[in-house]
Amino acid sequence: MPHTTLTLGGMAGQGLVTISDLLLKLLARAGYHLLATQDYMSRVRGGHNFIQIGIDADRIFAPQPIINILVALDSRSIDEHRHELTAGSIVLHDSDNKPPDINGVRFAGVPMNRFANKAGNPVYANAVALGAIAALLEIGMKGVDSLLNEHFGKKGEAAVEKNVAAAHAGYDHIAKYYAETTSSLPPVKQKTRMLINGAQAIGLGMMTGGLRFISAYPMSPSTSIFNYVTASAAELGILSEQAEDEIAAVNMALGASAAGVRTAVTTSGGGLDLMAEGISLAGVAETPIVIANIMRPGPATGLPTRTGQEDLNLVLNIGHGEFPRFVFAPGTAEEAFYTAIHAMNLADKYQAPVFLLGDQQLVDSYVTLDRLNITKVRIKEHLADPAKVPAPYQRYRITPNGVSPRLPYGTPGVRVMYDSHLHEEDGHITENADIVRAMVEKRFRKLKGMVKETGKPIWYGNKKPAITLACWGTSYGASREAVDALNRAGIKAGMAHFNRLAPFPSREARVLLANKKHVHTVEGNFTGQLAQLLARETGIHSGMPVTRYDGRPITARHIIDKLKEVHGNGKFKRISL
């Protein structure tokens, strides 16, 4: 069943983020499940940004194409979202901005700026809005009061009081003039839920997985991970370095990795391109590294602050020459957390580059969770024991499983040589054809172990479906909601979610998909990159992929609409979304 969606819209710099941060905390503490997706422009002031907050008693997996409550901080916000308003939608606006007339839509005007000025400063408009929203959602002011206390406490009592006064003014105004417009949320278990976004989840996962060194160059939408880790770096004994460019970032991390510490870099498409040669170096020099590539629509500068899934083919093939790699694309913040831990471990275990593919939607969206379980996390030490390594030490010793014992620089009595050429077992340059062949084969023997590791595709939905979706990364959420909607409407639907994309779990994919009819991949790109991968790795030639390539997140409605195009309207009639 569709949940309540509340959209906050306004200009960059108008305080959207403050309102939404407070509102989300308020609702998470009240026990609601939330999903907040952000849509912002590549500018610092002005323009139109918005945040859509889904509110429900159960977990929410994808944004909705409709709005139940629109909080419009400026009048442009009403124009921009007009097409998402339906009969019964409520628009909260500053009563000084005359709203247009829209059929069936109810308007609640609050003199936000006037109230704010009365409280002493235009910035209190945020608090007015918050109070008004609390009234519209019928959640009372107790939570708001204590949150404002907590949030503005550092700024002194006066600040708290004024914010509280402003919030109450907003609340009272709605209660007084729009009592019939308010609508209550579904009942929920009163418990405080964790509120986390994908950037925090990935950063936490990396840190839990033993990250010691991170280097990056700022680039949207990856910077939020780098910011989050940097904020806690000193406390956790991690070194964070802003590099002069992405080439430096990746090569710094490789040096640190050769010295024996766990490293990661964060970037996005264009920055990843610049890291390509360094990734290739990680391949031949067998240097562990985790590369978080947070996708935005490309090519080149593309749409810097939007979401997309265009870089799968790129990470599968980036870097010249051939070498094994892991590629993961978790579907949710929760999965991203655990995947980031695995990524750190696997990079070390296989001495190979590990990609973590996310996108703007993943890192910028807040979601509620009950908890993240770190009690079972084991950080296995994969550095070799110097006492057990055969002498003389050889960095690239040829072994049956392809993994050579790795010792850090500075190990007593040992010489450790990392090399970018084809090399002998001890790392010395070689051009000898036999050694070259043996080294290539050694490196690729790692795949036997890698393919058995975590990240197998997951099935969801009906076991004997008439329609099957296949998704990766954040297309998971919308696919899941679409599958639910289809099943609710009596159309048997199921889906396979791919987190690990390299080494591709071909056997498992075949088991899940080979005998299914009407398999459609769901992807945020134009060419259907998972569909290509399935064809290549499993021989499964899926049907027309469900794609989206305008920089916006995929919704269940988008999927259903595309399916209608392929399968005709008929049986999709009963679908409620």
């Binding site: 998470a28 405080t192 839920r193 964790m194 509120l195 986390i196 925090q200 936490l204 840190m207 839990t208 997985g209 033993g210 010691r212 060194f213 280097s215 956790l236 004994g237 070194l239 370095e241 590099a243 002069e244 460019d245 080439i247 430096a248 970032a249 990746v250 090569n251 710094m252 991390a253 490789l254 040096g255 640190a256 990795s257 050769a258 010295a259 024996g260 510490v261 490293t263 040669e277 360094g278 170096l281 993240l372 770190i374 950080i379 850090p408 620089y409 500075g410 190990t411 007593p412 009595g413 010489r415 450790v416 040589m417 990392y418 090399d419 970018s420 050429h421 790392g427 010395h428 340059i429």
Partner: protein
């Protein structure tokens, strides 16, 4: 040196007979031995080029990375284990051409390491194209009418960036070079030594003789802490090339400032309690 030299690599070296790189390798070994270093304590990092082969020819830890990218991994390794003595060996193309951006910013970052540039004013390994330091007029297959770009002046740029230690040597002067390297290793900051290094195969302009005629050692009258004088020395070229420490501006390096006297990153372990406290902030 022979047996008493733990750093000495006996295998074949793929340099041309007579190449200045041999003498630089020799100077590195001398400096390390004289400074009492053990091979396991030392890490040499390089990019790609003839000069950059050096880590393969020194029995010690090595990182032979990508063309132009010697400095970033050197930074990473030093940051991860600051007990290592890190030496970067690179060519003029590697360091000032492909790697120019890292050169600028590594100076700004000022991590404690010794950077030796084998400056033969040419791309040796790729057979004789102009490098950033090639003199104007030098003809090559890619510059058939002669080089027209103004040569890159590494010393002047380093001083303009206020690099803490800027020196020049000439490969033939092995002991002099070794002594500069030892000073640099002890210096506690980013220390640049640009070493004039004849390429006997491709640089027919700047030969042993050409350098010999111009190179002279700076006397005690040169005050390397005077930036203006240092710049004036850095600009000298055709009529005389000063050797020695050109500029010095001591200040705490990156390790001293950021990492301090703590355990190397390498030794640090994940603290579950702290992770839990981060998680707690999300409620």
């Amino acid at each position: 040196m022979g047996n008493s030299n733990a750093f000495h690599y006996e295998g074949e070296k793929a340099w041309c007979p007579g190449c200045g790189d041999f003498a630089i390798l020799n100077a590195v070994e001398k400096a390390l031995i004289h400074a009492g270093k053990k091979p396991e304590e030392v890490l040499t990092v390089s990019g790609i080029g003839q000069a950059a082969k050096l880590p393969h020819y020194l029995k010690s830890n090595g990182f032979n990375g990508l063309h132009g990218r010697a400095l970033p991994p050197a930074f990473g390794a030093k940051a991860a284990n600051h007990h290592l003595t890190v030496i970067v060996t690179s060519g003029d193309g590697d360091m000032y051409g492909e790697g120019g951006n890292h050169f600028i910013h590594a100076i700004r970052r000022n991590i404690e390491m010794t950077v030796i540039v084998h400056d033969n004013q040419v791309y040796g390994l790729t057979k004789g194209q102009a490098s950033p330091t090639s003199d104007k007029g030098m003809k090559t297959k890619l510059q058939p009418e002669g080089v027209i770009l103004t040569p890159f002046n590494p010393l002047a740029v380093a001083i303009a960036l206020d690099a803490p230690f800027v020196a020049r040597s000439f490969s033939k002067e092995i002991d002099f070079t070794a002594d500069l390297i030892e000073q640099a290793m002890r210096y506690g900051g980013f220390a640049l030594i640009d070493v004039l290094q004849p390429c006997v195969s491709f640089n027919k302009v700047n030969t042993y003789q050409w350098y010999q005629q111009r190179a002279y050692r700076l006397g005690p009258e040169h005050d390397p802490t005077d930036r203006a004088k240092a710049l004036a020395k850095a600009f000298e070229w055709d009529s005389g090339i000063p050797l020695g420490v050109i500029y010095k501006n001591p200040r705490p390096g990156y390790v001293a400032t950021v990492i301090g006297d703590t355990e190397p990153l390498l030794k640090r372990k994940v603290n579950t309690e702290k992770i839990n406290s981060l998680l707690a902030r999300l409620y």
